[in-house]
């Protein structure tokens, strides 16, 4: 029996004249990603994407797993292909959904006919197929209000499709249609979630990570790479720039008041990230900050860090509680990796009593003793490049 995946595109249909562009990006993404699951024919008609295996080596399970991680998809389902005649539809429906029909007590048939040349109307299709199913499975009862199983038949341009329930896709809009932005990634729980959330809104990611050897280890950086690999299953591939940050941190530690350490450090991070962003053609920064979570994430502290950059800073987690963030982190499988215990640069030299209500001009004053330009240039000269999501 021929089985395919039917994909309903999400918000895309709302995008008016831009729809084509959005659809093309989504198709391109699916074509690229599905290569690892085998040879598929992928085409679109009337806002439905058809993913059809071309030979028996195609792994439809793996294909489903790829589809469910691709943004821009509202729902998807696996369906059986039938010829456009009532007899074939009935026989295939009973064979394809045999187990589900055996296990259910109540069902209904929903029919959609977008090919108006088909001789039966939608209600006629439902009635005929419903009758046929009742004949074959006498234990079933029809329940149109609250059925345990809904058998859906769609008669479309390329053929008739029979399926059970449609499953929820990843939602969002296709990656690449929302421009490019830099994610500041630490290795904790929050930043991978922030990256995932902005990718969901169509943003193509570039990652910036700060490393402070010997205060942070190669393992901390390795952990970040693994986290980004996990994110890249949704966001697609990206480049990570590792910024050597030891000198900056040591200089702040030696020359600035302890309670302002984290804030000044974060201002450096933002400024360096913005420079990388401009250089790499990105138009915004993304951070995993959540209001009030730590001292550097109070409203006053955020105001002070933001004053160093011109670009918009996206903080998708700003209004979320930790447990809400953890929930997403578990759902996208980054949690287990995030909690591995390697020190990252945000926990090096943390002050005992950080300032929670900093005043901008005090900070600027404190920074004056540093060779800001020199420190930044030396960090930017020695960026390390890592490719993420390119496979082995």
């Amino acid at each position: 029996m021929e089985e395919i995946i039917l994909v309903k595109v999400g918000e895309l249909v709302l995008k008016g004249l831009n729809r084509r562009t959005f659809e093309n990006v989504l198709l391109k993404t699916l074509r690229y990603r599905l290569r690892s699951a085998g040879k598929f024919e992928i085409k679109i008609a009337q806002c439905i994407i058809y993913i059809k295996p071309l030979d028996e080596n195609c792994d439809i399970e793996q294909a489903s797993d790829i589809v469910v991680k691709t943004f821009g998809i509202a729902t998807y389902s696996r369906a059986c292909v039938a010829g456009k005649d009532m007899e074939d539809i009935s026989q295939k429906a009973v064979a394809y959904l045999k187990e589900e029909l055996e296990d259910a007590a109540t069902f209904k048939v929903e029919a959609r006919r977008s090919d108006k040349r088909f001789p039966f109307t939608s209600p006629q299709i439902s009635a005929r197929l419903g009758g046929y199913i009742l004949d074959k499975f006498p234990h079933l009862k029809v329940d149109v209000r609250n059925p345990q199983l809904t058998v859906t038949v769609e008669v479309r341009d390329f053929g008739a499709y029979i399926r059970g329930a449609a499953l929820k896709g990843a939602g969002g809009i296709p990656v690449g249609t929302g421009g490019k932005a830099v994610i500041l990634i630490s290795g904790g729980i929050d930043s991978p979630v922030a990256a995932y959330m902005m990718a969901k809104r169509g943003i193509e990611l570039t990652a910036v990570h700060f490393a402070s050897p010997p205060y942070t280890s190669e393992r901390a950086e390795d952990k970040v790479c693994r986290l980004l690999e996990l994110v890249s299953r949704y966001s697609g591939r990206m480049t990570m720039y590792t910024v050597p940050f030891t000198e900056v941190q040591e200089q702040i530690k030696e020359n600035c008041p302890e309670e302002l350490f984290t804030l000044i450090m974060r201002r450096f991070m933002m400024e360096i990230s913005e420079k990388i962003a401009r250089d790499k053609d990105c138009s915004a920064l993304i951070t995993g900050e959540s209001l009030g979570q730590v001292a550097s994430q109070t409203i006053h502290a955020i105001a002070c860090t933001d004053s160093v950059c011109q670009m918009p800073v996206f903080r998708p987690l700003i209004g979320m509680d930790k447990d809400e963030i953890v929930k997403i982190s578990r759902a996208i499988d980054t949690f287990e990796t995030s909690i591995e215990p390697y020190e990252d640069c945000c926990t090096v030299f943390t002050p005992k009593h950080p300032r929670t209500r900093p005043v901008l001009h005090h900070i600027e004053e404190a920074e004056r003793v540093l060779d800001t330009k020199g420190l930044m240039n030396r960090a930017l000269e020695n960026l390390k490049v890592t490719k993420i999501g390119y496979g082995e």
Partner: protein, 379 residues
């Protein structure tokens, strides 16, 4: 043994020759990449990276996430961990365990241990073809059942068990059961994934697919919690503490890289050829039917004890097995469970193939079987 004739190894169900690719990887890890993956320095990280690569390879082959694998010392330990670990984690939910009478000793003996601890274990007998019937599963699984453990391919007969049908029965019966599959004899020989079988726990091992002895893996679905049976460090998600067998794990990864399901066609030819020859003799009774995995053929040479024939063939440089290698000397519990008379159980021979076998090997085996039946005294 005649010096001009080479050894013929037809006991690949017991273990296989390690491939050069796998052996080289192990050697390289032992000599050059000997760091402890738990060490914080670069030498440790380097070992960790190699191990992660192997983990990824094995996970991909199983269709699992790499965080869902626990490397063990082999199939036996993985089966012990699966059964004891799942039963202990679920003891407050229920006490009933369903398995088959033809499982590997590592499953059956774990079950005996669990019986000692107060669990009730149902051992389902197979039909004469060596396959457990769906109907028996339906009758055995109930709302008290917390664990179902079934092998995918029987190690003595090659009979395929309906593992992929069990999850549905568990759901239909509303049983709070997790499903474990011992896939030691199937992994690398027939294509499957943890999703296609719909299992929560799955055992595989390296040395049946041209990898090293001493390393196996248990897949533990991220939705299932099991308890450890060893205690110590936090390696392998706390489920298997102790410094990882890095070199062997990497050798396992290399062996998995070499899996090629097209080999099955070659094996089918060999197996069909042997089957065809054996059916000519009235002194042979086949126990593996054509539905079985072609890698394994079990038959009795009527009137001659398994061990006698085994040693006779070994004298000619041909290595086969008398049932499962882990149960040396004892009459096969599998064949007994299939209802075979003692005379057939005591004379059973298992031939198991690998990609390295050729048709000529079978000609020699058949010739020597004929020699054996002529020269050996019947009982």
């Amino acid at each position: 043994m005649n010096d001009t004739e080479q050894e013929i190894y037809l006991d690949n169900g017991a273990t296989t020759a390690v491939s050069a690719h796998s052996a080289q990887k192990i050697m390289d890890m032992l000599l050059n990449n000997y760091g402890n993956p738990s060490s914080l320095h670069a030498k440790g990280l380097q070992a960790q990276r190699e191990m992660d690569k192997a983990r990824k390879t094995v996970a991909k082959q199983l269709g699992a996430a790499d965080t869902e694998l626990v490397f063990t010392s082999g199939g036996t330990e993985a089966n012990n961990l699966a059964l004891l670990g799942a039963a202990h984690a679920r003891r407050r939910i229920g006490k009933r365990i369903v398995t088959s009478a033809i499982e590997h000793a590592s499953v059956l003996d774990s079950c005996r241990q669990l019986e000692e601890e107060g669990f009730e274990v149902i051992y389902l007998a197979p039909n004469p073809q060596g396959v457990v019937e769906i109907e028996d599963l339906q009758n055995a699984i109930n709302t008290q059942t917390i664990l179902v453990s079934f092998m995918y391919v029987n190690n003595e007969t090659g009979a395929l068990q309906p593992v992929d049908k069990i999850k549905r029965i568990i759901k239909q019966k509303n049983a709070p059961a997790v499903l474990h599959c011992d896939a030691v004899q199937a992994f690398g020989k027939i294509p499957f994934t943890v999703n296609s079988l719909n299992v929560d726990l799955l055992t595989a091992t390296a040395h049946k697919l041209h990898g090293p002895k001493g390393v196996g893996v248990l897949y533990v679905s991220k939705d299932v919690r099991i308890l450890p049976i060893h205690f110590g460090g936090s390696q392998e998600r706390n489920l298997r503490p102790g410094t990882e067998a890095v070199s062997l794990i990497c050798g396992f990864g290399s062996a998995v890289q070499e899996i090629d399901f097209a080999v099955k066609q070659h094996i089918e030819v060999l197996s069909g050829y042997l089957r065809e020859q054996l059916t000519q003799f009235d002194w042979v009774k086949l126990h593996s039917d054509e539905a079985c995995l072609p890698y394994i053929i079990n038959f009795s040479v009527l009137g001659i004890r398994s061990e006698t024939m085994l040693h006779f063939l070994a004298g000619k440089g041909i290595y086969v097995s008398s049932g499962s290698a882990c149960a040396k000397g004892k009459g096969s519990h599998v064949l007994k469970a299939m209802g075979l008379p003692n005379s057939e159980v005591d004379s059973a021979i298992r031939v198991s193939f690998s990609k390295y076998n050729q048709k000529a090997d079978i000609d020699r085996l058949v010739r020597e079987l004929q020699n054996g039946i002529r020269t050996l005294a019947k009982r």
